[in-house]
Subunit: 208 residues, 2 copies
Amino acid sequence: MGDMTAHGPKLTQRGQATRERIVTAAARLMYERGVAGTSTPDVRTAAGVSSSQIYHYFADKSALTMAVIEQQTEMILRRQNTLLDKLDSFEGLWAWRDCIVDLVRELGCAGGCPLGSLTTELADHDPRAREALAAGFSRWGTAIRDGLRTMIDLGRLSPDADPDHLSLAMLAALQGGLLLAQAQHTTAALEAGLDAMIERIACHAVPT
Amino acid sequence: MGDMTAHGPKLTQRGQATRERIVTAAARLMYERGVAGTSTPDVRTAAGVSSSQIYHYFADKSALTMAVIEQQTEMILRRQNTLLDKLDSFEGLWAWRDCIVDLVRELGCAGGCPLGSLTTELADHDPRAREALAAGFSRWGTAIRDGLRTMIDLGRLSPDADPDHLSLAMLAALQGGLLLAQAQHTTAALEAGLDAMIERIACHAVPT
DNA sequence: ACTGGATTTGACTATCCAGTCCACTCGCGG
DNA sequence: CCGCGAGTGGACTGGATAGTCAAATCCAGT
């Protein structure tokens, strides 16, 4: 389900490339300035296409925004793929934590989570966008949950631990930490949140 | 420090009232539609004032936004004042948790945190707004931290517990939980995040 | 009552934006 | 090599937006 864009006419290779250039440019701008702060002329210039191109590939700005949501979701999951796969041990959890903290620090604590920004701006008045964002978070949470489940299967974590509950909590700490990093220009809250959550999981650890 | 608005000329009682009406209307609209999504005509209509009134009390939209940030910070801390004061026991922590979850549920999981929304929209490109938001979060975190400190003083919590660390973590879980509630239309993540964090604190509990 | 500053009004400008339209070019299938 | 649909360029529209201005009105202190 949810293949892309429901674009009636065929797309040639060149068309596909242009479409992607538009989405990528829009994603960057919307991430930096927000959706409302990104005008179609801005996107036009950044993508190096002319005005009507955008409306040739997307019904309206809302459709473009949906494409941006999908692209950002894929980007996040692809970027974290390596680490997310290794979330089946405490070393893996800590490595994941360190990687996120380092990344945020490198970016000067700015930007926050692409999905998070889009959520605050769109969730309340664009139901379709909200669903897409929820789906994105759901996939993210599932990746974490699967790691925890594996830890239980491998006997590293007590069966008392609830992977669904804990993965949601972890995602919450991560999102909140990113938000606070943006406001306070420190990774302190992000680190505290992730640390506390991993330590909480460690409460269920099976001593080796 | 940071008294308000640096408004040169004197404000009569009537002027003060009008100014407040503008800020309140702007705060509601910016909460519902975002800052960029709120136009001055919108504010004008909602506050029942004429166009130039806004610019009589505020230098520009950015100054109005700053006033909104301050008002929202006060509002949050005032609204949670009762509960925040009782954060010095586990009963208090759980009551606070339940109250937040109930509130979010009543609001249909919409809206998120007023400070959180403003943060994602403003933090990266408006340094003064970012500082004001950071100060707001700081006051909020301090309230939580003081509760935890009291718990240590009262011997309910082990001195090993780090109130600074834990209060930041709690704030992160709260903010992230609110964000995820907005996206997923469930309080599941909010509950999971707060629960996990309180349970994490409970690890340091001193048995009675 | 009167005066001066605070307050209010509504029209006005210059800019910008989402979305449309039409003429033009490109390149693939036949 | 030709026709046709996909792709592209750029001008254009109708509406909205931030911010200004000069004139009218209110009200507190005298």
